[in-house]
């Protein structure tokens, strides 16, 4: 598979930008995986599949491919977008807010809070520091 051309135009040096993008992607994937897992455990696999599908649809409708060059959110498991990390942060914040909103409707406030809290507390130090800056996984 050929690597798409870099879309990085930001202020950070390319190596630092790539690291930041990788960490942001890890954090976003962690949130998605934990929410999906909680939905599958408590509501069943088809609801978890619908959650994934809804998030993919949202990303598709909100310029995911145009901004990152990746076809779907699932492609994040294989590749990290190579764009300005500030732009990637804003994309992930938007999508993660949407993911939390759907998960909240599915799980209810109390269970969602519990899932977010345990995800937050289990973050490794490097991601916890990043999360403290971007609040992708809020401690609620």
């Amino acid at each position: 598979m050929t690597q798409p051309p870099s879309r990085h135009t930001g202020a950070l040096p390319p190596a630092e930008n790539a690291d930041e993008c990788a960490d942001l992607t890890l954090l976003f994937n962690r949130l998605r995986t934990e929410l999906r897992g909680a939905i599958a455990r408590t509501g069943g696999r088809s609801l978890a599949g619908e959650f994934d599908q809804r998030l993919e649809t949202y990303a598709g409708e909100h310029a995911w491919h145009t901004l990152t060059g990746l076809p779907t959110l699932d492609a994040l498991h294989a590749r990290v977008p190579d764009i300005d990390s500030r732009m990637l942060l804003s994309v992930y914040q938007d999508y993660s807010s949407f993911a939390r909103q759907i998960a909240g409707r599915l799980l209810g406030d109390q269970l969602q809070r519990s899932v977010l809290r345990s995800t937050y507390l289990q973050l490794p130090p490097s991601l916890a520091e990043l999360n403290a800056r971007c609040q992708m996984i809020p401690y609620v």
């Binding site: 509501g43 069943g44 909103q101």
Partner: protein, 275 residues
Amino acid sequence: MSSRGWPARAGVLIVLACFIGIYMVQPGGTRLLEILANTLNTAAASLGAVLLLAASTRFDRGLVQRRAWLLLGSGMTLWAIAELVWAYLQIVIGQGVPYPSPADMIWSIGFIPLILGLSAGHRSLGVRLSNRQRVLTVLVYVLLLATLAIGLLGPMYADLPPASWPEAVIGAGYLVGDLTLAFIAMLSLAVLWNGLIGRPWPPIAVGLLLFAISDTVFAYAAWKGLYAVGGNLLSGVIDVAYLAAYLSIALGAYRQVTLRLADVPVRESFSTTEA
């Protein structure tokens, strides 16, 4: 609330309304009513069992929730068998059905998987209840238990001859078992009430509360020698409450089987500042 679920709710209400109507008019006499009541109870319990078992298939193998719904389905299957045995005894033997009967033994055994299933399901949520929720649910449980035990079972069993103790034990066992089931269902409901996955729990909790009330009233009616299908208002209340309880649980299981994300509105236009 989902607009997709209305046919099931309407179906339950129509069945109940028809049953009440037939109960009042009694076309064909009490014999036919007895057959109808027993058939409906067995059918509703079987439907509940099938739907509870079907609900378990929505979860991947190895998940606690799969086991929990499987246990609920097994418990309800035992209750459906008990209904069948009870129907046989009531229709074939008639007024001379012993209490406790073999059906009561099966009902009692059915409590075990039901309680295990509900508690496993609740524990797997991994959520600690707030103090207010804990106090409220315990309060409701204790109040109902005290009201039914002191108001009904106490006077009934106070001067009971030793030969009737099995009757007292079964009556008290039903009360404690039903209320325990309703209590655990209420705990799950308290955690999940505003989420889509909480939708099965209101009808299930209502069904279990109806069992607690109708089982206790039945124990009272049996003690007084009042229970006879179609014979009086008290028997009518018991029979309608039993059917409503089974249908309510079946409705809850149906909701679990048919949960869809499309049932909840999600705002597509979104701001990144929203938490």
